[in-house]
Symmetry: C2
Subunit: 340 residues, 2 copies
Amino acid sequence: MASRREVAELAGVSEATVSRVLNGVGPIREETRRRVLEASERLGYVPSALARSFARSKSGNLGVVLPYVPKAHLFSAYFFSEMLSGIGSKARDNGLDLLVMFQTPGEVMNYTDLFRRQKIDACIILGARYDHDELAAIQQLDREGHPFCVMNQHFTGESFFEVDADHVEGSRLAIRHLTDQGYRNITFLNGPYSYSNSQERMEGVRLGLQQAGMELDPSLLLEGNYSRRSGIEAAAIIAERLHEIDAVFAANDRMAIGVMHGLRERGVRIEDFPAFVGYDDSDAAEMAVPALSSVRVPFFEMGEIAVSKLMHPAEALQSPRTLLPTELIVRASSSSRFRA
Amino acid sequence: MASRREVAELAGVSEATVSRVLNGVGPIREETRRRVLEASERLGYVPSALARSFARSKSGNLGVVLPYVPKAHLFSAYFFSEMLSGIGSKARDNGLDLLVMFQTPGEVMNYTDLFRRQKIDACIILGARYDHDELAAIQQLDREGHPFCVMNQHFTGESFFEVDADHVEGSRLAIRHLTDQGYRNITFLNGPYSYSNSQERMEGVRLGLQQAGMELDPSLLLEGNYSRRSGIEAAAIIAERLHEIDAVFAANDRMAIGVMHGLRERGVRIEDFPAFVGYDDSDAAEMAVPALSSVRVPFFEMGEIAVSKLMHPAEALQSPRTLLPTELIVRASSSSRFRA
DNA sequence: TTGTAAGCGTTATCAA
DNA sequence: TTGATAACGCTTACAA
């Protein structure tokens, strides 16, 4: 572990020049540059990121806030690992390291302190809840001018940097796919209405039905909590009305699969299943039996874009909220071929 | 953003005393402590983690190295998110932040530079491959005395800190479960033999069969790469010998489910399925149809223990390699009740 | 083009 | 029990 001083000595220059060469700043004679690089190479000198951060008052870290996932499994790990990978890939391109933090169940994360303590230069919030305290915490972040971006959650009336997918369109596509095939009694198993996400799905469902000349039957609207278990519970209700219900659209794959399981537990055979469309197109979708049609959400790209916004805030300000397109992936669960 | 200096002034003490109070070091008069805390509170003073790290030459970060997962899906996201959660939970208890890094496909990560640059104080390697370059990189880490821990991979002949699950026992349990139910022709779909993990499973299978008075039939030994696709491919072979093969033990759930899918694609009905046991007990296991029996691996706990070892190296040195117990979870795929 | 030196916000040592 | 002060290793004016 050679010091910068040694490098300077060996190269016969000042320490400042070593820094200049290594940072590629300022005008430097080619000969000097070569000598420094050589010396630094020979001594195996590696500058301390710590000292550099300190001197620049920039940590070089991008904070990523994850919700409290373990054990609960409410949300799919797929969802987060894709986004995290997208964020990681773009962060690396920008020379940023990822500092990941988990939310603690009861308490609200003190986002601003992370900045004040200078642990992070910017942050991406993945598991934002939509409640008073959380909003207040994020608003403070905004007020203090810290760069941040919220994923998968829209805060109405604010103009935070947000990256989300077009769930209105995704849901509309799902519904139209079903109505186009002649399904008329479509149950919609939504997630908690407190998520902007769920609200958008609701909107898309309404739109899709309307375009098909139909209306939402409130009795066909169910609410789960995005867990498989809640899908199983919904199956109890669906099973009872199976003579009329001919299709199920669930707000995520886990619930859709939960419903399938619930029906099966109640002795409903696959041949008698209603059509199914899920949401997220997680890897569980293709593992399901029958393979589950699902609305694909570009999680990886969403992660990349969030980082881009933070790196180019000027441009991002033009449209703080980015909505990525969703796409319907049709599989056996809703294809007429299978169902015929 | 008040400075320490202001706090010192307001409290009528020196800056050094402010630090002492906030760090809880040294003897301090209660009255002074109170005044400092009060002043610091009133001014909203938050010490800079950056400056602190710099002064202490400790980043306060625990590095976590993840393999390159996105898109590939070779490994289950479940696996990593559980471990990461375990690591995160224990890291938080120890006041450490998590710096996560992804491996890049082609290149070997330069672990030592992370330490030399002082980005991290210790590190946990999750996706260690077993090849020459990787081993060399890790050996260097060891040589330079940096604290690190390898998860889920054993390097024979080295005495690195390692945390793994007892895959010999897990596999033995799986096999005994099958033999106990009278299955005689058990196909074992293993992962690449280059992983220590796969080798241990092989050993467990051998042991289990031996205890049942049987021997491994080499023709019943298949090798996949832990992906669902490789399970589907294996199904081609299994389907052909379905008249003799009565059970399948796969080295992970994804492959087990892949085999199920492959068989189904080939028109094999669930009633005619062989018994199945998978491995990892990922959430996919209970979503499978039929629900997949699987060997549970305590990923979360493994993450916690890895951090503990790094925090208490003296004790960890007693037994650098920790093997956590595995457990068989029996579900419909292998239970005689279902199969009868 | 290069050197000198101030400064970054702590911690930690030494005196008092 | 507290204060003064020297590190810590880098960046970055400013001078030369």
